[in-house]
């Protein structure tokens, strides 16, 4: 290992990449216990450094979780995956502090997401129930302040607490989209998706059947990855022009949508404003063309607005 080369340490619990220079120390940590192999990481990575490791399903049960692996030679420690990871399994460190370089340099947005608690509206009888109900155990009781606190860094915004607390908790999820379960298309007796679902949106109902509570879904798509009925895809080229260069990228789209028991669609994501090609490219891969186009459209709209402002009487319709 020469100075500044990336060193990878892999255990069952985590993958750590370290890049130590004398004046800069980059570190990326993938918490494999949180990782659900949802594919968002591999889709986000601009250098294809992250690969999907498929899970193993036996007799309708998940016996090995899907996961991810990292190529230390490709990772450039940009931190995009850390921003997008739906289960907060990835952390980017710079010189011993948690820091995402792409966000620091405003080349990537912060996702708009939150979990707020209004203690006054809460039925404190339900305290223990709400705490136990959280799938990620991020809610705890602060003895001093006598209130419930949320570990914001690890909360995955599943809204279980929102329902359990009758609205005393308010959750904003970053992703918008749809999830649909077609039970009749399932492999008989298979509950693998419920095994991987981090939010219990997919669960075994009281009648013993697989059920979907779509309100909790965070659109991570991990269920599709473990489902024994695999999505088949075709690649198609999308061509776009950016900064004088015409790029052709291979994208994938599902061709057997009608056969799939579980389908997750990501439409758009809430984020802080940003001007960045890297963000547009990540979006185009994460949310098929739609979100990317929305992003491009938003920029166009801003430009149109500038144009309109220059017109006489613009104030009439641009008041608000």
């Amino acid at each position: 290992m020469k100075r500044g080369e990336t060193v990878k340490t892999k255990t069952d619990a985590e993958i750590v990449l370290d890049r130590k220079m004398v004046t800069l120390h980059n570190r990326m940590v993938w918490d494999l216990e949180r990782c659900i192999g949802c594919q968002i990481g591999p889709l986000t990575c601009p250098k294809d450094a992250i690969t999907h490791v498929p899970g193993v399903v036996e007799n309708g049960h998940l016996v090995k979780r899907a996961s991810a692996d990292i190529d230390p030679e490709k990772c450039i420690f940009c931190g995009m995956c850390a921003v997008m990871c739906p289960t907060n399994a990835i952390t980017a460190w710079v010189d011993g502090k948690v820091e995402v370089p792409v966000q620091k340099f405003e080349a990537f947005p912060t996702l708009v997401e939150s979990t707020k608690f209004a203690g006054a509206l809460f039925d404190w009888e339900r305290r223990d129930f709400v705490i136990d109900n959280c799938p990620t155990n991020v809610i705890s009781f602060d003895e001093e302040k006598e209130t419930l606190v949320v570990d914001q860094q690890h909360c995955i915004r599943c809204r279980q607490c929102e329902v359990a607390s009758d609205g005393a908790f308010q959750v904003v999820q970053p992703w918008e989209g749809t999830v649909e379960l077609f039970r009749e298309k399932c492999v008989e007796g298979c509950t693998a998706c419920a095994d991987i679902c981090p939010t219990r949106a997919l669960h075994i109902a009281e009648n013993g059947e697989l059920a979907l509570a779509d309100y909790y879904c965070i659109k991570c798509g991990a269920c599709m990855q473990v489902c024994p009925i695999k999505a088949t895809t075709e690649t198609y080229d999308i061509t776009f022009e950016s900064h004088g260069v015409t790029y052709t990228r291979a994208h994938e789209r599902i061709t057997n949508r009608a056969e799939l028991p579980i389908v997750v669609d990501r439409w758009r994501v809430k984020h802080t404003p940003v001007e960045s090609g890297a963000w547009v490219q990540a979006l185009m891969r994460l949310a098929d063309d739609k979100a990317g186009m929305v992003e491009i459209d938003r920029k166009r709209a801003l430009r149109r607005k500038d144009l309109l402002k220059a017109l006489k009487g613009a104030s009439l319709f641009l008041e608000e």
Partner: protein, 891 residues
């Protein structure tokens, strides 16, 4: 040896015309202590055509040369043989010598009795003398058939190219520019400056390295005669001295050279940091970067491996719009007259030495890292800290000869490490007087001016020196301190020294890609990968390829003054050519006898065109026109000559007749006991010379015939050798990647592999015919091959060899019948067989008149405009250009 004469074995063409002088050199005692010169002289006098034979202590000295010149006048000599050293050493000397006395310089032959005899058979003096006699006989046989040739003049493009923008390349470029020579400086990284730019201070004067180099870099950037091609690599080189065609790939910087002002706003907004190669990975650079503040040109480059295309830089650059993501690699084609290779060195990765723990123990560093750590321009702004905790170490050990002078890795001494280690120790002592510094050394080598005094100052400054190469370094995992274990040779005691940080003086190695570049340039690399000079003493800046020169560490590790001096020296060597206007090259090109070429009778043969590595053959199959060779494009390897099934092609100065005469001369006496080797004069010839210089002994029953390239070795030569009874035959050329004629030796290998099968069928034991590759540095390999072949002969025994040859002879004779189609060979064989020469002299003369002995001139193109399409098809267009208007005009 009287019987040779009686048999009339191949000596002499038109004996009455020959007036040959033979001069045997003692070379002090180099030759005379083994070979008895007087015996060789007496023997030479008996050879046909020899009118005088003399010996001298130093033939190459003024009196020695004067002796030859005087004899030429006094005895009317028309040919001269000097029995001395190798062609590489003194052929040019004696050619010039006889030329001054009025003879054509090609009426000369060198007999190498030093490298090929006295130096390698010192324990068999009688056999060495006998061998020397036969080498002289071979040279006399060849010189009997040589013809006068005029040097061939080519135009010179007055434009230089320097590959590598370190201090050697910079020095060469500035000198050439001073002579107002357009100079292209090609550098593969984004900036010039090279290794010197990375150094903090320089020994022994302690002046700041970049402070003295940066002004020179700026001069290069501003000089109107210097054209910088940074972030570029040489991909293809064709042509020859004065007329190279070079293809350079300019890698995309994604930043416009014209628009970028080097303001650095882009760098500030770039989110991606990666290790900076210039800082040895100690600190980061951005994905858009200049390697260092003093970079020339001061233009940013985007590292696409790190770029995430966020376009923040585009935003920051704003209206300058210097960033251009649309850039693509671009190939620039240049006409160049001379090339200087100044590719410098890389540092070796000492991870291989596991016991030192580099790459495992954080505080084990390389010397270049130490350099960057105490440099004020470095990542720590000059604060010398250890990597594990960023603290200034109180104790430091520096270890010498890490990977150099170590048979496991690099045998050679890297030269400058003693001095820069001492320099780093001195600098740190200045910066941190309390720091305890120990240098572990084998020897301290201080050969430069005031270097020894510098070493003395270091000792006075309190730097400790321990003689002993450390055996192991062990890290304390808690403190990250290191214990260096060594044997102190002075006291014989084991030393276990605990220090906070260790610096390794790791070996210098040829820069990455040097061997590949060698292939592109057809310049050989030595076994370590350093570029090989033409002669280690007298042509240290030249390469075996004319018009290509070496400067700086590309040739072997060098410090700054030596690199600067070599840069200037190489500029001088190159300007010799560039300022000459025209350049003379050897007229040893190939020539087609149009009457014998089958295409002149409507044939559709393309063999010569396929064999030519340079596209020098104008081949018009089916048109009724004989093939022709463009002299300016022909490099004189002779591959087409050997390939031509009609024996219609001849190479000047290496004709079939000359070579067959040599075969006959060398195999006249006891052929069954001999090893006859056909060797190219580059790698294998220099390899054989290297065996001589290194005094690697091998049996004296070995004889060599030198050709330009193994590609010239005709199947007929090998068969003729066996027909004459040879014990073993070797054909040896360069290694495939080193061939001086691109692929001449590959043609030879294909040809000889087929022949080997045929010979085996004829009953020749497989070990008796061998094809080998020997490089110019593989003297040991050459000696081993010679011993092996001798063993084959010993194991079989003369009787068995005779029997095999006897059985094969009828078939060999049958197959060799066509060799006589060459009039010169027929003439020679008739002489040998004492057959009537009826009519032959005139026929030979006719052949010579038709071109074999004709001067090489630039003939006008014979192709009439109506056939211009065919002309283009055979790729003459390019050659026509180099030949100038006379040819272009054509008919």
């Amino acid at each position: 040896m009287a019987e040779i004469k009686e048999k009339g074995n191949g000596h002499g063409r038109e004996t009455e015309d020959l007036r040959i002088g033979v001069y045997v050199c003692h070379c002090g005692s180099n030759i005379a202590s083994v070979v008895t010169p007087s015996e060789v002289v007496e023997y030479a006098k008996t050879l046909p055509g020899v009118v005088i034979a003399k010996e001298h202590r130093y033939m190459c000295s003024d009196p020695g040369q004067a002796l030859i010149q005087q004899d030429i006048k006094e005895f009317g000599l028309n040919r001269v043989v000097v029995a001395a050293c190798s062609v590489a050493m003194h052929e040019p000397t004696f050619r010039a010598c006889i030329s001054d006395a009025g003879l054509n310089p090609f009426m000369f032959e060198m007999a190498n009795i030093r490298e090929h005899s006295s130096w390698v058979h010192s324990h068999e003096k009688a056999a060495a003398t006998h061998k020397a006699k036969e080498i002289v006989a071979s040279a006399v046989a060849k010189v009997s058939y040589v013809r006068p040739l005029d040097m061939f003049e080519v135009p010179v493009t007055r434009r230089a190219m320097i590959i590598g923008g370190g201090i050697a390349g910079i020095s060469a470029a500035l000198d050439l520019a001073d002579m107002k020579i357009d100079t292209y400086l090609v550098e593969k990284t984004p900036t010039i400056g090279g290794r010197m730019a990375q150094l903090d201070k320089t020994f022994p004067t302690m002046d700041c390295s970049i402070c003295i180099e940066a002004p020179k870099m700026v001069d290069v950037g501003k000089n109107p005669y210097i054209h910088l091609l940074t972030y570029s690599e040489v991909k293809e080189v064709s042509g020859y001295i004065g007329n190279f065609k070079v293809k350079v790939e300019r890698k995309p910087r994604y930043v416009s050279l014209d628009k970028c002002t080097g303001c650095g706003l882009c760098e500030e907004v770039c989110p991606i940091s990666v290790p900076n190669e210039f800082e040895e990975g100690l600190g980061p650079r951005k994905a858009i970067y200049v390697p260092m503040a003093q970079a020339v040109p001061s233009i940013y480059t985007i590292d696409m491996d790190a770029c995430i295309r966020c376009y923040k830089c585009v935003e920051a650059c704003g209206s300058l719009s210097a960033i251009d993501f649309a850039q693509e690699p671009e190939i620039v084609e240049l006409d160049i007259g001379a090339i200087i290779v100044a590719t410098g060195y890389d540092t070796w990765n000492p991870e291989a030495i596991e016991e030192y723990g580099f790459g495992v123990y954080e505080n084990v560093t390389t010397m270049m890292e130490i350099e960057r750590l105490h440099c004020a321009g470095g990542p720590t702004v000059g604060e010398f800290v250890r990597p594990s905790d960023g603290k200034v170490p109180e104790t430091l050990a520096l270890i010498q000869c890490v990977g150099s002078r170590d048979k496991r890795y690099h045998e050679y001494c890297s030269g400058f490490c003693c001095m820069y280690t001492i320099k780093n120790a001195m600098l740190l002592k200045w910066l941190y007087p309390e720091m305890d510094i120990t240098i572990f050394r084998i020897d301290i080598r201080t050969p430069g001016k005031t270097y020894e005094e510098f070493y003395e100052r270091a000792r006075e400054a309190g730097i400790h020196f321990i003689q002993g190469r450390p055996s192991e370094i062990i890290e304390d995992p808690a403190t990250k301190n290191l214990t260096v274990h060594a044997e102190n040779i002075a006291t014989g005691q084991h030393v276990a020294l605990e220090v906070e940080m260790v610096g390794l003086a790791n070996a210098a190695i040829p820069s990455d890609g040097a061997v590949d570049l060698g292939r592109v340039l057809t310049v050989p690399n030595d076994t370590h990968g350093w570029f090989l000079e033409s002669h280690p003493k007298l042509k240290p800046l030249d390469t075996p390829t004319e018009g290509i020169y070496l400067a700086g560490s590309a040739q072997g590790p060098k410090d700054i003054p030596a690199s600067v001096a070599q840069g200037s020296g190489a500029a001088g060597r190159a300007s010799r050519v560039l300022n000459a206007g025209t350049w003379e090259i050897d007229p040893i090109v190939a020539y087609v006898d149009p009457e014998r070429c089958i295409n002149s009778k409507g044939g559709k043969c393309t063999i010569c065109a396929q064999a030519c590595p340079y596209g020098a053959v104008i081949n018009l199959p089916g048109t009724g026109e004989a093939s022709r060779i463009v002299p300016a494009k022909c490099h004189g390897c002779g591959t087409c000559v050997a390939e031509c099934p009609q024996n219609a092609i001849t190479q000047h100065h290496f004709t079939d007749g000359q070579i067959v005469a040599q075969i006959h001369a060398l195999l006249a006496d006891e052929p069954e006991t001999k090893v006859l080797a056909f060797i190219c004069r580059w790698c294998s010839g220099m390899g054989a010379d290297n065996a001589g210089v290194s005094h690697f002994e091998y049996p004296a029953n070995t004889r060599n015939i030198l050709v330009m390239c193994a590609g010239r070795v005709d199947r007929d030569f090998v068969m003729e050798a066996f027909r004459l009874g040879a014990g073993a035959v070797l054909v040896s050329g360069c290694h495939p990647q080193d061939c001086h004629y691109i692929e001449g030796r590959n043609h030879a290998e294909d040809r000889m592999e087929k022949l080997a099968g045929q010979l085996e069928k004829l009953g020749i034991s497989p070990g008796r015919f061998r094809v080998e590759s020997v490089s110019a540095t593989e003297g040991a390999k050459w000696a081993r091959i010679m011993r092996d072949l001798n063993e084959v002969i010993q194991d079989l025994g003369v009787a068995a060899i005779e029997a095999e040859n006897e059985a094969a002879r009828p078939q060999l004779t049958k197959r060799l019948r066509r060799m006589r189609e060459v009039p010169e060979v027929d003439y020679l064989l008739r002489l040998v067989e004492s057959a009537p020469l009826r009519d032959l002299p005139s026929q030979t003369q006719r052949a010579f008149d038709a071109g074999i002995g004709k001067k090489v001139v630039q003939e006008p193109c014979a192709t009439v405009p109506a056939e211009a399409d065919a002309c283009k098809a055979c790729a003459i267009a390019e050659a026509c250009e180099t030949l100038g208007a006379a040819t272009k005009g054509g008919a």
